[in-house]
C-alpha cells in the first residue's frame, strides 16, 4: 500500500513540474508520424425541418443593408451516400467519411520535411488522393511564349466506376436548404447541393512561431491550408419558402458541373498563413507577403535573381517553379437554366500576398 501512495504522490509532483521545451532535431527524427486515423463508416446525417416542436438550426442576428432583421432557418442539412437525389433518398443511403486504409488523419510530423525547419508540425489531413497526385497537369508556369490552352485537367476523379471505383462510397452528397426570413417574412428557400463531394488530398498544418526567435517574443500560430474540392455537380436553386426539391415552385438551377478546386493557402515557413481575431471581434486572415524575399533593391527585369545570390533567391525561384504553391480551379460546365456556358478555368494561380479582414456592415 505504501508503494501505491508513494507512486501516486511522485506522479502528481511530476505533472506539476513538467515544462514544455522545444523538441530537438535528434528527438524529432524519432517522431514516426503514426498519428490518429478518423473514419466514420455507414454514416447518415439528415437534419430536417421542425417536427413536433423539435429543434432546428437557425441563424439570427443578421441584418439587411437598411437595418431590417434577417434570419436563416435551415430546413434541411444532409450528408448522405451519393445518389441521394438532393437529399430525398435517406433511408439506407449511408456514406463513409474516410476508410480504414485511407482515413482522415491527425498526426505530428517533422517540419523539416514540409518546409518548416526545426519544428514539429501538427497536421490534420483528409484521405490521400486516389491514384493521382492531382487532377490537374500544371500549365505553362510563367514562361513567355509558351502560353497555351489549358488541357491538363484529369477527370479520372469523377469516373467512379473505373479508376476510382473503390472510393465512390466515400464521396457523399451534401446539401443545405435555408429559408430566408427578412423583416419577419419568410421570402424564399435557397438550396445548395453537392453531388459526390470529395476533399481528398486536403490538409491543414499548424505550427508555432515567434517574431523574435531568440527572445521568444511575439508568439503566434502559423499554418498552411491545402484545400481540394471535387464535386460532380454544385447546384443552386430557389423555391418558395417552405418548399423543397420536387415542389412546383422550385425553378431552374445554376450548375457548376465537374467542379474541381485545388487551393494552396500558405507555403511552409517561407510564406505562412495566419488567422487572428482582433480585440473588436473581427478576424484577419493573412498569407504573408513576399516583400523582402529578394534581399535587396528589386530593380531590373529579372527582379530577385539580379540582386541577390543567397538562400532567399532560392526561395523565390522555388516559389515560381512547379514546386511552389499554386492553385487551380476548373468548372467542366457552367449552366444557367438550360443555357450552357462551357467550361471555365483559373490556372496556376499564385498568391504573393493576401490579407482579408472583416468589419461590420
Amino acid at each position: 500500500m505504501n508503494k501505491i501512495f508513494l507512486l501516486s504522490f511522485s506522479m502528481l509532483v511530476n505533472v506539476v513540474q513538467a515544462d514544455l521545451v522545444s523538441i530537438d532535431d535528434f528527438a524529432l527524427s524519432k517522431v514516426d508520424g503514426e498519428g490518429i486515423g478518423l473514419v466514420l463508416e455507414d454514416f447518415i446525417f439528415n437534419a430536417g425541418s421542425e417536427t413536433a416542436g423539435g429543434g432546428t438550426i437557425e441563424i439570427s442576428g443578421l441584418k439587411g443593408s437598411s437595418g431590417q432583421d434577417v434570419s436563416l432557418h435551415v430546413s434541411q442539412f444532409y450528408i448522405l451516400g451519393n445518389g441521394s437525389i438532393r437529399g430525398s433518398v435517406v433511408d439506407g443511403n449511408s456514406t463513409n467519411i474516410g476508410r480504414l486504409s485511407n482515413p482522415f488523419n491527425i498526426e505530428l510530423i517533422d517540419g523539416d520535411d514540409v518546409g518548416v525547419a526545426n519544428k514539429a508540425v501538427f497536421e490534420f489531413s483528409a484521405p490521400k488522393l486516389h491514384g493521382t497526385t492531382s487532377v490537374f497537369t500544371p500549365t505553362f508556369f510563367n514562361q513567355i511564349g509558351s502560353a497555351g490552352d489549358f488541357t491538363g485537367f484529369n477527370t479520372a476523379l469523377f469516373d467512379d466506376d473505373t479508376t476510382t471505383g473503390s472510393r465512390s462510397s466515400e464521396r457523399p452528397d451534401i446539401g443545405i436548404s435555408v429559408d430566408l426570413e427578412i423583416a419577419a417574412v419568410r421570402t424564399q428557400s435557397l438550396n445548395t447541393h453537392y453531388k459526390r463531394l470529395s476533399i481528398d488530398g486536403s490538409r491543414l498544418r499548424l505550427w508555432g512561431s515567434y517574431d523574435d526567435d531568440v527572445a521568444k517574443t511575439g508568439g503566434r500560430m502559423e499554418g498552411e491550408l491545402t484545400l481540394n474540392i471535387y464535386t460532380h455537380d454544385l447546384e443552386f436553386f430557389a423555391c418558395n419558402s417552405g418548399d423543397s426539391f420536387g415542389d412546383n415552385s422550385c425553378g431552374t438551377s445554376i450548375h457548376f458541373n465537374d467542379f474541381a478546386a485545388e487551393l494552396q493557402l500558405g507555403w511552409g515557413s517561407s510564406q505562412p498563413a495566419t488567422f487572428e481575431v482582433n480585440g473588436d471581434g473581427n478576424f484577419v486572415f493573412e498569407i504573408k507577403s513576399l516583400e523582402g524575399i529578394c534581399g535587396g533593391a528589386n530593380t531590373g527585369i529579372d527582379g530577385c535573381t539580379a540582386s541577390s545570390g543567397d538562400q532567399s533567391t532560392d526561395v523565390v525561384e522555388r516559389f515560381y517553379s512547379s514546386s511552389g504553391p499554386f492553385s487551380n480551379i476548373y468548372m467542366g460546365e457552367v449552366k444557367v437554366g438550360e443555357r450552357s456556358f462551357g467550361n471555365s478555368t483559373i490556372s496556376n494561380l499564385q498568391i504573393e500576398y493576401l490579407k482579408v479582414s472583416s468589419h461590420d456592415l
Binding site: K3, I4, L7, S8, M11, L12, V15, V16, G61, L62, K63, G64, S65, S66, V70, N142, Q143, I144, A147, L180, Q188, L190, F236, F237, A238, N240, N248, S249, C250, G251, T252, G281, L290, A297, N298, G303, C304, T305, E317, Y320, V334, V336, G337, E338, R339, F341, S344, T345, S347, N348, L349, I351, E352, Y353, L354, S357, S358, H359, D360, L361
Partner: protein, 346 residues
C-alpha cells in the same frame, strides 16, 4: 512492479491536477455580450419580373496574385470567332514596385448576388427560375494586368491628352488637317469594346476603340483653336473609314493595354500620365465602384448598377476608372511588374 490496484489508483488520481476548470453553460447575460460581428448583410429586391437576393460581405481585402490563365465561358458561340467569353492570359491583380514593395490590389465589401425570374409553374403557381449569378468586388482600386485575348462585358476607357501623338501618326488628309493644330491642344474621346468596323460590341471583343459616329473633341472648356475642327469628323463616317477618323486609327487591340490602373480620381499630369511615387506606385487614387463578374442566361440589370448585361459571361470594369492619353491609346500601356521574378515585366 506496479500491480493492478496501483495502476487503477494511478489512473484515478492522475486527472485530478487538471480538473479545476469546469465547462459551464453561458448564461443570458454572458450570451448577450457576444457581439456576433455582423459582417454579412442579406438584401432582396424586385425589379420587374426579376427578384434579386444579394449577400454582402463586410470584408477588406488586399492582394498581389498572378495566374497563367483566367478563362470563363469556353464554348462555341454563334457568330463569334473567339472561343471564350473572357480569356485573360498572364493575369495579375496588384503590382511589385521598383523597391520590392507590393502595391496590392484592394477590394472592399465584395458580394454575391443571385437573380431569379418568376415564371408560371404550369399549374397556376409561380416558380423561381435562377437566371443569373454575380460576383461583385464592391469597391476596388489597383493594377489590373492581363493579356486580354477576349472580353465580354463592359470596358470604357477615357481617352484624354495632348493632340501631339495624333499629329505624329497622321498621314494623308489627316496629316494636312492637323498641320495647323497645336500639338499641345488637349483633346478627348471615349473608347468602348468594338468589332472590326467600330460598332460597339461587348461580346467576345478583342478590340477597343472610338465607336462609329463618335468624334475626338476639345477637352478644355474654352476654344482649342483649329483642333476644334476634329469634332466635325466622326469615326467611320463622312471622310472617315471604319475604325478611323481622317485616316487616324482609333481601334486598338485590347492586349496592348497590359496594365490598367483601376480607381477613381487617379492623379495625372497635363499629358494624362499617371503621377507616380519614387518607387513607381500610383501617387493617389480613390476606390472605384462597379467591378463585377457575372453569368446570366438573359440580359439583366443588376442591383446598384446601371449596366445592362448580356447573356453569357460578363466582366464589368468600372466606367470612368480607366483613362489613357493618346500616346498610350496608340501604342498601349506598359505592363507593371507583378511577380518577383517576372518574365513579362514591361
Amino acid at each position: 512492479m506496479i500491480n493492478f490496484l496501483s495502476k487503477l489508483l494511478l489512473l484515478l488520481l492522475l486527472p485530478l491536477p487538471f480538473s479545476y476548470a469546469q465547462l459551464v453553460p453561458i448564461d443570458d447575460i454572458g450570451m448577450s455580450e457576444a457581439t456576433g460581428q455582423a459582417f454579412i448583410a442579406i438584401d432582396q429586391r424586385t425589379e420587374g419580373s426579376i427578384d434579386f437576393t444579394k449577400v454582402s460581405l463586410g470584408i477588406d481585402a488586399e492582394m498581389l496574385i498572378n495566374a497563367d490563365l483566367v478563362e470563363f465561358g469556353e464554348y462555341a458561340r454563334s457568330g463569334e470567332s473567339l472561343g471564350s467569353d473572357i480569356r485573360l492570359e498572364n493575369f495579375a491583380l496588384g503590382e511589385v514596385l521598383s523597391d520590392g514593395t507590393i502595391a496590392p490590389f484592394k477590394i472592399k465589401d465584395p458580394f454575391i448576388e443571385l437573380a431569379f425570374e418568376k415564371n408560371s409553374d404550369g399549374s397556376g403557381g409561380i416558380q423561381q427560375d435562377l437566371v443569373g449569378i454575380r460576383l461583385g468586388f464592391g469597391k476596388a482600386k489597383g493594377a489590373f494586368t492581363a493579356d486580354i485575348k477576349s472580353l465580354s462585358g463592359k470596358l470604357e476607357i477615357a481617352l484624354e491628352g495632348s493632340l501631339q501623338p495624333i499629329k505624329d501618326t497622321a498621314t494623308g488628309i489627316a496629316w494636312l488637317a492637323t498641320r495647323f493644330m497645336s500639338g499641345n491642344t488637349q483633346v478627348k474621346s471615349t473608347a468602348v469594346l468594338v468589332d472590326e468596323v467600330g460598332i460597339p460590341d461587348g461580346i467576345r471583343a478583342h478590340l477597343i476603340g472610338v465607336p462609329k459616329g463618335t468624334a475626338i473633341e476639345c477637352a478644355g472648356s474654352g476654344s482649342c483653336g483649329l483642333a476644334g475642327l476634329l469634332q466635325y469628323f466622326t469615326a467611320g463616317e463622312g471622310f472617315s473609314s471604319s475604325c478611323h477618323i481622317l485616316g487616324i486609327g482609333v481601334c486598338y487591340e485590347l492586349s496592348t493595354y497590359r496594365t490598367l490602373e483601376i480607381g477613381d480620381n487617379i492623379g495625372r499630369d497635363s499629358d494624362g500620365n499617371i503621377l507616380r511615387t519614387a518607387n513607381g506606385g500610383v501617387a493617389s487614387a480613390d476606390y472605384s465602384d462597379g467591378l463585377f463578374l457575372s453569368f446570366q442566361s438573359k440580359a439583366i440589370e443588376w442591383t446598384d448598377s446601371d449596366v445592362i448585361t448580356h447573356d453569357g459571361g460578363f466582366l464589368n470594369i468600372p466606367e470612368g476608372g480607366i483613362q489613357v492619353n493618346f500616346e498610350q491609346a496608340l501604342h498601349g500601356t506598359d505592363r507593371q511588374r507583378t511577380r518577383y521574378i517576372d518574365p513579362y515585366f514591361n
